[in-house]
Protein backbone atom coordinates (compact mmCIF):
# COMPACT_ATOMS: atom_id res chain seq x y z
CA UNK A 1 0.00 0.00 0.00
CA UNK A 2 2.54 2.55 1.09
CA UNK A 3 5.43 1.76 -1.16
CA UNK A 4 6.26 5.40 -1.50
CA UNK A 5 5.94 6.29 2.14
CA UNK A 6 9.65 6.16 2.84
CA UNK A 7 10.85 7.76 -0.35
CA UNK A 8 12.01 11.29 0.06
CA UNK A 9 11.74 11.25 3.83
CA UNK A 10 15.50 11.36 4.12
CA UNK A 11 15.67 14.79 2.53
CA UNK A 12 12.94 17.14 3.72
CA UNK A 13 14.25 20.46 2.36
CA UNK A 14 13.65 23.72 4.19
CA UNK A 15 10.41 25.63 3.53
CA UNK A 16 9.82 28.37 2.51
CA UNK A 17 12.68 29.13 0.14
CA UNK A 18 13.15 32.42 -1.72
CA UNK A 19 12.18 32.67 -5.36
CA UNK A 20 15.09 33.65 -7.57
CA UNK A 21 12.83 35.16 -10.23
CA UNK A 22 10.04 37.03 -8.37
CA UNK A 23 7.34 35.14 -10.26
CA UNK A 24 8.90 31.69 -10.67
CA UNK A 25 9.29 28.94 -8.05
CA UNK A 26 12.71 28.10 -6.62
CA UNK A 27 14.46 25.05 -8.11
CA UNK A 28 13.82 22.94 -5.01
CA UNK A 29 10.05 23.27 -5.33
CA UNK A 30 10.25 22.28 -8.97
CA UNK A 31 12.27 19.21 -8.13
CA UNK A 32 9.78 18.20 -5.42
CA UNK A 33 6.90 18.76 -7.86
CA UNK A 34 8.54 16.54 -10.46
CA UNK A 35 9.19 13.74 -7.98
CA UNK A 36 5.75 13.30 -6.42
CA UNK A 37 2.49 15.14 -5.78
CA UNK A 38 3.23 15.17 -2.02
CA UNK A 39 6.59 15.69 -0.33
CA UNK A 40 8.02 16.42 3.09
CA UNK A 41 9.57 19.79 3.93
CA UNK A 42 11.10 21.23 7.09
CA UNK A 43 9.85 24.46 8.69
CA UNK A 44 12.01 27.06 10.45
CA UNK A 45 11.32 25.45 13.83
CA UNK A 46 12.48 22.02 12.65
CA UNK A 47 9.00 20.62 12.20
CA UNK A 48 8.52 18.36 9.17
CA UNK A 49 5.24 18.86 7.29
CA UNK A 50 3.67 17.88 3.94
CA UNK A 51 4.04 20.05 0.87
CA UNK A 52 1.39 19.20 -1.73
CA UNK A 53 2.45 20.13 -5.25
CA UNK A 54 -0.11 18.21 -7.36
CA UNK A 55 -3.18 20.13 -8.56
CA UNK A 56 -5.70 17.33 -8.04
CA UNK A 57 -4.26 16.28 -4.69
CA UNK A 58 -4.20 19.89 -3.45
CA UNK A 59 -7.84 20.40 -4.46
CA UNK A 60 -8.90 17.14 -2.92
CA UNK A 61 -7.27 18.03 0.39
CA UNK A 62 -8.55 21.61 0.44
CA UNK A 63 -12.09 20.25 0.04
CA UNK A 64 -11.60 17.57 2.73
CA UNK A 65 -13.49 18.02 5.98
CA UNK A 66 -10.72 16.29 7.91
CA UNK A 67 -8.47 19.26 7.48
CA UNK A 68 -8.49 22.36 9.69
CA UNK A 69 -7.57 26.00 9.07
CA UNK A 70 -7.82 26.90 12.76
CA UNK A 71 -4.71 28.87 13.63
CA UNK A 72 -5.42 28.55 17.31
CA UNK A 73 -4.78 24.81 17.29
CA UNK A 74 -1.39 24.09 18.83
CA UNK A 75 -0.51 21.79 15.91
CA UNK A 76 -1.29 24.39 13.22
CA UNK A 77 1.96 24.82 11.24
CA UNK A 78 3.76 28.13 11.84
CA UNK A 79 5.67 29.22 8.74
CA UNK A 80 7.73 31.99 10.30
CA UNK A 81 8.35 33.28 13.82
CA UNK A 82 6.13 36.26 13.01
CA UNK A 83 3.09 33.98 12.75
CA UNK A 84 3.50 32.77 16.28
CA UNK A 85 2.52 36.24 17.45
CA UNK A 86 -0.91 36.71 18.98
CA UNK A 87 -2.33 38.94 16.24
CA UNK A 88 -1.74 36.40 13.50
CA UNK A 89 -3.46 33.65 15.43
CA UNK A 90 -6.75 35.49 15.77
CA UNK A 91 -7.71 35.55 12.12
CA UNK A 92 -11.47 35.44 11.67
CA UNK A 93 -12.83 33.68 8.60
CA UNK A 94 -9.51 32.56 7.06
CA UNK A 95 -8.48 30.90 10.31
CA UNK A 96 -11.85 29.44 11.26
CA UNK A 97 -13.46 26.06 10.64
CA UNK A 98 -17.17 25.37 10.06
CA UNK A 99 -19.69 26.11 11.42
CA UNK A 100 -18.20 29.40 12.67
CA UNK A 101 -16.48 30.05 9.36
CA UNK A 102 -19.66 29.60 7.35
CA UNK A 103 -21.65 32.00 9.52
CA UNK A 104 -19.11 34.74 8.94
CA UNK A 105 -18.80 33.96 5.26
CA UNK A 106 -22.56 34.20 4.76
CA UNK A 107 -22.48 37.60 6.34
CA UNK A 108 -19.91 38.83 3.82
CA UNK A 109 -20.74 37.05 0.56
CA UNK A 110 -23.37 39.59 -0.57
CA UNK A 111 -20.80 42.41 -0.57
CA UNK A 112 -18.48 40.50 -2.88
CA UNK A 113 -20.91 39.07 -5.43
CA UNK A 114 -20.12 39.61 -9.08
CA UNK A 115 -22.99 42.05 -9.43
CA UNK A 116 -21.92 44.15 -6.46
CA UNK A 117 -18.36 44.13 -7.69
CA UNK A 118 -19.44 45.17 -11.20
CA UNK A 119 -21.03 48.25 -9.65
CA UNK A 120 -17.58 49.23 -8.42
CA UNK A 121 -16.12 49.37 -11.93
CA UNK A 122 -16.36 53.17 -12.34
CA UNK A 123 -14.91 53.71 -8.87
CA UNK A 124 -11.97 51.42 -9.58
CA UNK A 125 -11.41 53.08 -12.97
CA UNK A 126 -11.30 56.50 -11.25
CA UNK A 127 -8.80 55.28 -8.68
CA UNK A 128 -6.56 53.71 -11.32
CA UNK A 129 -6.75 56.82 -13.54
CA UNK A 130 -5.87 58.99 -10.59
CA UNK A 131 -2.63 57.12 -9.89
CA UNK A 132 -1.68 56.85 -13.56
CA UNK A 133 -2.25 60.62 -13.92
CA UNK A 134 -0.03 61.17 -10.94
CA UNK A 135 2.75 58.98 -12.33
CA UNK A 136 2.57 60.84 -15.65
CA UNK A 137 2.64 64.19 -13.88
CA UNK A 138 5.56 63.44 -11.56
CA UNK A 139 7.61 61.09 -13.72
CA UNK A 140 9.37 59.45 -15.32
CA UNK A 141 10.73 57.65 -13.37
CA UNK A 142 8.32 56.14 -10.84
CA UNK A 143 8.27 53.32 -8.32
CA UNK A 144 5.48 51.10 -9.58
CA UNK A 145 5.06 49.53 -6.14
CA UNK A 146 4.78 52.69 -4.12
CA UNK A 147 3.12 54.89 -6.75
CA UNK A 148 0.63 52.43 -8.22
CA UNK A 149 0.47 48.84 -6.99
CA UNK A 150 0.09 49.66 -3.27
CA UNK A 151 -2.27 52.67 -3.34
CA UNK A 152 -4.78 51.29 -5.89
CA UNK A 153 -6.02 48.30 -3.85
CA UNK A 154 -5.83 50.36 -0.67
CA UNK A 155 -8.26 52.92 -2.09
CA UNK A 156 -10.55 50.19 -3.39
CA UNK A 157 -10.68 48.49 0.01
CA UNK A 158 -11.42 51.86 1.64
CA UNK A 159 -14.40 52.13 -0.67
CA UNK A 160 -15.59 48.58 0.08
CA UNK A 161 -15.26 49.14 3.83
CA UNK A 162 -16.88 52.58 3.56
CA UNK A 163 -14.16 54.73 5.10
CA UNK A 164 -14.78 58.49 5.28
CA UNK A 165 -12.88 60.52 2.66
CA UNK A 166 -10.86 62.45 5.22
CA UNK A 167 -9.35 59.22 6.57
CA UNK A 168 -8.08 57.88 3.26
CA UNK A 169 -4.58 59.31 3.54
CA UNK A 170 -4.11 57.95 7.04
CA UNK A 171 -5.47 54.54 6.09
CA UNK A 172 -3.30 54.25 3.02
CA UNK A 173 -0.16 55.32 4.83
CA UNK A 174 -0.72 52.98 7.78
CA UNK A 175 -1.50 50.06 5.44
CA UNK A 176 1.64 50.76 3.46
CA UNK A 177 3.71 50.83 6.63
CA UNK A 178 2.15 47.56 7.74
CA UNK A 179 3.12 45.91 4.44
CA UNK A 180 6.51 47.45 3.90
CA UNK A 181 7.66 47.18 7.50
CA UNK A 182 11.03 45.53 7.79
CA UNK A 183 11.05 45.19 11.57
CA UNK A 184 8.60 43.49 13.82
CA UNK A 185 8.12 46.70 15.84
CA UNK A 186 7.15 48.69 12.76
CA UNK A 187 4.61 46.15 11.61
CA UNK A 188 3.20 45.82 15.13
CA UNK A 189 2.74 49.57 15.60
CA UNK A 190 1.15 50.06 12.17
CA UNK A 191 -1.12 47.09 12.86
CA UNK A 192 -2.21 48.50 16.21
CA UNK A 193 -2.92 51.90 14.71
CA UNK A 194 -5.15 50.33 12.08
CA UNK A 195 -7.02 48.18 14.58
CA UNK A 196 -7.55 51.23 16.81
CA UNK A 197 -8.83 53.20 13.87
CA UNK A 198 -11.22 50.51 12.62
CA UNK A 199 -12.46 50.01 16.16
CA UNK A 200 -13.32 53.69 16.57
CA UNK A 201 -15.01 53.86 13.17
CA UNK A 202 -17.10 50.73 13.83
CA UNK A 203 -18.19 52.20 17.16
CA UNK A 204 -19.20 55.46 15.52
CA UNK A 205 -21.16 53.61 12.84
CA UNK A 206 -23.38 51.98 15.45
CA UNK A 207 -25.13 55.26 16.07
CA UNK A 208 -24.25 57.31 13.02
CA UNK A 209 -25.08 55.50 9.81
CA UNK A 210 -22.46 55.19 7.09
CA UNK A 211 -21.73 53.49 3.79
CA UNK A 212 -19.89 50.30 2.94
CA UNK A 213 -19.32 47.04 4.72
CA UNK A 214 -18.53 48.55 8.12
CA UNK A 215 -21.64 50.71 7.98
CA UNK A 216 -23.85 47.78 7.04
CA UNK A 217 -22.42 45.30 9.53
CA UNK A 218 -22.43 47.84 12.35
CA UNK A 219 -26.08 48.64 11.72
CA UNK A 220 -27.42 45.18 11.06
CA UNK A 221 -25.28 43.06 13.27
CA UNK A 222 -23.95 44.94 16.24
CA UNK A 223 -27.33 46.55 16.79
CA UNK A 224 -29.07 43.19 16.38
CA UNK A 225 -26.55 41.46 18.61
CA UNK A 226 -25.59 38.52 16.36
CA UNK A 227 -22.08 39.75 15.60
CA UNK A 228 -19.78 40.97 18.33
CA UNK A 229 -18.06 44.31 18.05
CA UNK A 230 -14.62 42.73 18.20
CA UNK A 231 -15.52 40.29 15.40
CA UNK A 232 -16.64 43.21 13.26
CA UNK A 233 -13.31 44.95 13.77
CA UNK A 234 -11.47 41.71 13.05
CA UNK A 235 -13.47 41.20 9.85
CA UNK A 236 -12.53 44.67 8.61
CA UNK A 237 -8.90 43.95 9.44
CA UNK A 238 -8.95 40.59 7.66
CA UNK A 239 -10.39 42.17 4.52
CA UNK A 240 -7.54 44.65 4.60
CA UNK A 241 -4.85 42.09 5.31
CA UNK A 242 -6.16 39.54 2.79
CA UNK A 243 -7.02 42.00 0.05
CA UNK A 244 -4.32 44.64 0.02
CA UNK A 245 -0.92 42.99 -0.19
CA UNK A 246 -2.16 40.15 -2.42
CA UNK A 247 -3.65 42.46 -5.01
CA UNK A 248 -0.75 44.93 -4.81
CA UNK A 249 1.82 42.18 -5.34
CA UNK A 250 -0.14 40.69 -8.22
CA UNK A 251 -0.25 44.10 -9.91
CA UNK A 252 3.52 44.51 -9.51
CA UNK A 253 4.60 40.97 -10.41
CA UNK A 254 2.02 40.76 -13.19
CA UNK A 255 3.40 43.95 -14.72
CA UNK A 256 6.86 42.42 -14.45
CA UNK A 257 5.78 39.18 -16.13
CA UNK A 258 4.10 41.11 -18.94
CA UNK A 259 7.18 43.31 -19.46
CA UNK A 260 9.33 40.17 -19.57
CA UNK A 261 7.15 38.74 -22.35
CA UNK A 262 6.82 41.55 -24.91
CA UNK A 263 5.02 39.38 -27.46
CA UNK A 264 2.35 38.48 -24.90
CA UNK A 265 2.07 42.09 -23.79
CA UNK A 266 1.63 43.20 -27.40
CA UNK A 267 -1.19 40.67 -27.80
CA UNK A 268 -2.93 42.07 -24.76
CA UNK A 269 -2.44 45.68 -25.86
CA UNK A 270 -3.84 44.90 -29.31
CA UNK A 271 -7.04 43.32 -28.02
CA UNK A 272 -8.96 44.64 -25.00
CA UNK A 273 -10.99 41.42 -24.99
CA UNK A 274 -7.78 39.51 -24.20
CA UNK A 275 -7.27 41.26 -20.86
CA UNK A 276 -9.36 38.94 -18.62
CA UNK A 277 -7.47 35.88 -19.93
CA UNK A 278 -4.18 37.73 -19.38
CA UNK A 279 -5.26 38.44 -15.80
CA UNK A 280 -6.00 34.75 -15.29
CA UNK A 281 -2.58 33.78 -16.63
CA UNK A 282 -0.90 36.38 -14.41
CA UNK A 283 -2.77 34.93 -11.42
CA UNK A 284 -1.75 31.37 -12.34
CA UNK A 285 1.86 32.24 -12.98
CA UNK A 286 2.70 34.63 -10.13
CA UNK A 287 0.58 32.95 -7.40
CA UNK A 288 1.51 35.65 -4.92
CA UNK A 289 0.43 33.81 -1.79
CA UNK A 290 2.64 30.89 -2.89
CA UNK A 291 0.47 28.65 -0.71
CA UNK A 292 -3.15 27.99 -1.61
CA UNK A 293 -3.60 27.18 2.08
CA UNK A 294 -1.89 25.90 5.20
CA UNK A 295 -3.78 23.32 7.22
CA UNK A 296 -3.54 20.63 9.86
CA UNK A 297 -5.01 17.12 9.46
CA UNK A 298 -7.62 16.23 12.08
CA UNK A 299 -7.65 12.54 11.10
CA UNK A 300 -5.55 10.13 9.07
CA UNK A 301 -5.98 10.77 5.36
CA UNK A 302 -4.91 8.43 2.56
CA UNK A 303 -3.89 10.23 -0.59
CA UNK A 304 -1.74 9.37 -3.61
CA UNK A 305 -0.43 6.26 -1.91
CA UNK A 306 0.63 8.05 1.24
CA UNK A 307 -0.84 8.54 4.67
CA UNK A 308 -1.18 11.98 6.19
CA UNK A 309 -1.45 11.39 9.93
CA UNK A 310 -3.76 13.17 12.32
CA UNK A 311 -1.91 16.27 13.57
CA UNK A 312 0.35 16.54 10.50
CA UNK A 313 0.84 19.98 8.99
CA UNK A 314 -0.23 20.22 5.34
CA UNK A 315 0.89 23.03 3.01
CA UNK A 316 -0.81 23.30 -0.34
CA UNK A 317 1.49 24.83 -2.93
CA UNK A 318 -0.48 27.00 -5.33
CA UNK A 319 2.72 27.90 -7.14
CA UNK A 320 3.43 24.26 -8.00
CA UNK A 321 -0.16 23.03 -8.41
CA UNK A 322 -0.57 25.78 -11.03
CA UNK A 323 2.35 24.24 -12.93
CA UNK A 324 1.09 20.67 -12.79
CA UNK A 325 1.70 19.29 -16.27
CA UNK A 326 -1.23 16.90 -15.89
CA UNK A 327 -3.42 20.01 -16.06
CA UNK A 328 -1.59 22.54 -18.22
CA UNK A 329 0.30 22.06 -21.45
CA UNK A 330 3.75 23.67 -21.32
CA UNK A 331 2.88 24.70 -17.80
CA UNK A 332 6.13 26.61 -17.42
CA UNK A 333 5.29 29.03 -20.21
CA UNK A 334 3.62 32.36 -19.60
CA UNK A 335 0.86 32.27 -22.21
CA UNK A 336 -2.12 34.63 -22.11
CA UNK A 337 -3.88 32.47 -24.70
CA UNK A 338 -4.87 29.81 -22.14
CA UNK A 339 -8.54 29.43 -21.34
CA UNK A 340 -10.24 28.50 -18.08
CA UNK A 341 -9.41 29.07 -14.47
CA UNK A 342 -7.53 25.95 -13.55
CA UNK A 343 -5.26 27.44 -10.94
CA UNK A 344 -5.26 27.57 -7.17
CA UNK A 345 -4.11 31.16 -6.75
CA UNK A 346 -7.37 31.94 -4.94
CA UNK A 347 -7.32 28.67 -3.03
CA UNK A 348 -10.06 26.02 -3.19
CA UNK A 349 -12.77 24.65 -0.92
CA UNK A 350 -14.78 26.66 1.59
CA UNK A 351 -12.05 29.26 2.08
CA UNK A 352 -11.67 30.07 -1.61
CA UNK A 353 -10.99 33.78 -1.86
CA UNK A 354 -13.94 35.94 -0.88
CA UNK A 355 -12.55 38.89 -2.82
CA UNK A 356 -11.70 37.11 -6.08
CA UNK A 357 -14.25 38.86 -8.30
CA UNK A 358 -13.07 42.19 -6.93
CA UNK A 359 -9.41 41.28 -7.37
CA UNK A 360 -10.00 40.18 -10.97
CA UNK A 361 -11.71 43.45 -11.82
CA UNK A 362 -8.97 45.51 -10.16
CA UNK A 363 -6.29 43.63 -12.07
CA UNK A 364 -8.15 43.93 -15.35
CA UNK A 365 -8.55 47.69 -15.00
CA UNK A 366 -5.02 48.17 -13.64
CA UNK A 367 -3.24 46.33 -16.48
CA UNK A 368 -5.40 47.63 -19.30
CA UNK A 369 -5.18 51.26 -18.12
CA UNK A 370 -1.49 51.16 -17.29
CA UNK A 371 -0.45 49.70 -20.65
CA UNK A 372 -2.88 51.81 -22.67
CA UNK A 373 -1.90 55.11 -21.13
CA UNK A 374 1.82 54.33 -20.75
CA UNK A 375 2.35 51.98 -23.70
CA UNK A 376 6.15 52.16 -23.56
CA UNK A 377 6.41 51.45 -19.84
CA UNK A 378 9.61 49.57 -18.96
CA UNK A 379 11.83 48.66 -16.04
CA UNK A 380 14.40 51.30 -15.08
CA UNK A 381 16.77 48.69 -13.60
CA UNK A 382 17.71 45.18 -14.75
CA UNK A 383 15.08 42.67 -13.58
CA UNK A 384 17.57 40.71 -11.51
CA UNK A 385 18.25 43.79 -9.37
CA UNK A 386 14.70 43.96 -8.03
CA UNK A 387 14.79 43.32 -4.30
CA UNK A 388 12.46 40.50 -3.28
CA UNK A 389 10.48 40.94 -0.10
CA UNK A 390 12.37 39.53 2.90
CA UNK A 391 11.50 35.92 3.70
CA UNK A 392 10.65 36.58 7.33
CA UNK A 393 7.59 38.50 6.21
CA UNK A 394 5.80 35.28 5.32
CA UNK A 395 4.98 33.58 2.06
CA UNK A 396 3.39 36.46 0.15
CA UNK A 397 5.68 37.05 -2.80
CA UNK A 398 6.56 40.48 -4.06
CA UNK A 399 9.20 43.10 -4.65
CA UNK A 400 9.96 45.97 -2.29
CA UNK A 401 10.44 48.44 -5.12
CA UNK A 402 9.98 48.43 -8.87
CA UNK A 403 11.63 51.40 -10.59
CA UNK A 404 9.99 52.03 -13.98
CA UNK A 405 10.36 54.59 -16.71
CA UNK A 406 8.74 55.39 -20.10
Amino acid sequence: MEITAQRGLSGAPPFPQPRTCPYQPPETYRRLGEEAPLSRVTLFDGRVVWLVTGYHEARQLLADERISADRQRPDYPALAPRFQAEVARRLVLIGMDPPEHDEHRRLLNPDFSRRRVAELRPVIQDVVDHYVDRMLRLGPPADLVRDFALPVPSRVISEVLGLPGEDLEFFQEASRRLLQATTREDSQSAGEELIGYLDRLATRRRTESGPGLIGRLAREEVAGGTLSHSDLVQIALVILVAGHETTASTIALGTLALLDHPEQLARMQADPAAVPAAVEEVLRCVAVTDLAGARVATADIQIAGRTIREGDGVLLSGTMANRDDRVHQDAEDFDIGRTGRRHLSFGYGIHQCLGQSLARLELEIAFSTLFTRIPNLRLAVPADQLAARPLGSGTVQGVQEMPVTW
Binding site: M1, S113, R114, R116, I303, T307, Q352
Partner: protein, 90 residues
Protein backbone atom coordinates in the same frame (compact mmCIF):
# COMPACT_ATOMS: atom_id res chain seq x y z
CA UNK B 1 -29.11 10.22 -21.79
CA UNK B 2 -31.97 12.62 -22.19
CA UNK B 3 -32.99 13.05 -25.78
CA UNK B 4 -34.50 16.24 -27.07
CA UNK B 5 -37.83 14.45 -27.23
CA UNK B 6 -37.72 12.96 -23.76
CA UNK B 7 -38.51 15.00 -20.67
CA UNK B 8 -36.16 14.36 -17.78
CA UNK B 9 -37.87 13.47 -14.54
CA UNK B 10 -35.43 15.73 -12.72
CA UNK B 11 -33.27 18.56 -13.94
CA UNK B 12 -29.84 17.29 -14.95
CA UNK B 13 -28.18 20.28 -13.35
CA UNK B 14 -28.82 21.16 -9.73
CA UNK B 15 -26.96 23.30 -7.24
CA UNK B 16 -26.94 23.10 -3.48
CA UNK B 17 -27.32 26.62 -2.17
CA UNK B 18 -26.46 25.47 1.33
CA UNK B 19 -23.01 24.40 0.16
CA UNK B 20 -22.47 27.35 -2.17
CA UNK B 21 -19.92 29.87 -0.91
CA UNK B 22 -20.63 32.43 -3.61
CA UNK B 23 -17.38 32.08 -5.48
CA UNK B 24 -19.08 32.64 -8.87
CA UNK B 25 -16.93 30.16 -10.77
CA UNK B 26 -20.10 28.62 -12.18
CA UNK B 27 -21.53 31.86 -13.58
CA UNK B 28 -18.15 32.49 -15.17
CA UNK B 29 -17.75 29.04 -16.71
CA UNK B 30 -21.34 28.55 -17.85
CA UNK B 31 -23.22 31.85 -17.88
CA UNK B 32 -26.14 30.32 -19.75
CA UNK B 33 -26.63 27.71 -17.04
CA UNK B 34 -25.78 29.51 -13.79
CA UNK B 35 -26.14 32.96 -12.31
CA UNK B 36 -25.51 34.52 -8.92
CA UNK B 37 -28.39 36.10 -7.03
CA UNK B 38 -28.04 39.48 -5.33
CA UNK B 39 -26.61 37.87 -2.23
CA UNK B 40 -23.97 36.09 -4.25
CA UNK B 41 -25.40 32.56 -4.25
CA UNK B 42 -25.84 30.26 -7.20
CA UNK B 43 -29.05 30.15 -9.22
CA UNK B 44 -29.59 27.51 -11.90
CA UNK B 45 -30.92 29.25 -14.99
CA UNK B 46 -31.17 26.17 -17.15
CA UNK B 47 -31.54 22.80 -15.44
CA UNK B 48 -31.42 20.89 -18.70
CA UNK B 49 -28.87 22.55 -20.92
CA UNK B 50 -28.31 21.38 -24.48
CA UNK B 51 -25.19 19.56 -25.48
CA UNK B 52 -23.41 22.80 -26.35
CA UNK B 53 -23.75 24.03 -22.79
CA UNK B 54 -23.26 20.67 -21.12
CA UNK B 55 -19.51 20.89 -21.38
CA UNK B 56 -19.54 24.35 -19.83
CA UNK B 57 -21.71 23.02 -17.01
CA UNK B 58 -19.16 20.27 -16.44
CA UNK B 59 -16.40 22.83 -16.27
CA UNK B 60 -18.46 24.80 -13.75
CA UNK B 61 -18.98 21.70 -11.62
CA UNK B 62 -15.25 21.04 -11.77
CA UNK B 63 -14.27 24.58 -10.80
CA UNK B 64 -16.84 25.04 -8.03
CA UNK B 65 -14.74 25.13 -4.86
CA UNK B 66 -17.61 24.02 -2.66
CA UNK B 67 -18.68 21.09 -4.83
CA UNK B 68 -22.15 22.53 -4.78
CA UNK B 69 -23.02 21.65 -8.37
CA UNK B 70 -24.50 18.27 -9.17
CA UNK B 71 -24.77 16.90 -12.66
CA UNK B 72 -27.20 14.06 -13.22
CA UNK B 73 -24.58 11.66 -14.53
CA UNK B 74 -23.28 11.39 -11.02
CA UNK B 75 -20.32 13.42 -12.19
CA UNK B 76 -19.95 16.20 -9.70
CA UNK B 77 -16.87 18.35 -9.86
CA UNK B 78 -14.64 16.54 -7.45
CA UNK B 79 -15.22 13.08 -8.84
CA UNK B 80 -14.90 14.28 -12.39
CA UNK B 81 -11.51 15.84 -11.88
CA UNK B 82 -9.97 13.76 -9.18
CA UNK B 83 -11.07 10.42 -10.52
CA UNK B 84 -8.43 10.80 -13.18
CA UNK B 85 -5.50 10.57 -10.85
CA UNK B 86 -6.61 7.68 -8.67
CA UNK B 87 -6.53 9.25 -5.26
CA UNK B 88 -6.66 6.00 -3.37
CA UNK B 89 -3.57 4.13 -2.37
CA UNK B 90 -2.77 1.69 -5.12
Amino acid sequence: MVSAAGRPAQPRVTADRELCIGAAQCAFAAPAVFDQDDDGYVVVLDGDPGSGEWEAAQEAADLCPAQAILLADGADGADGADGMVGMDAG
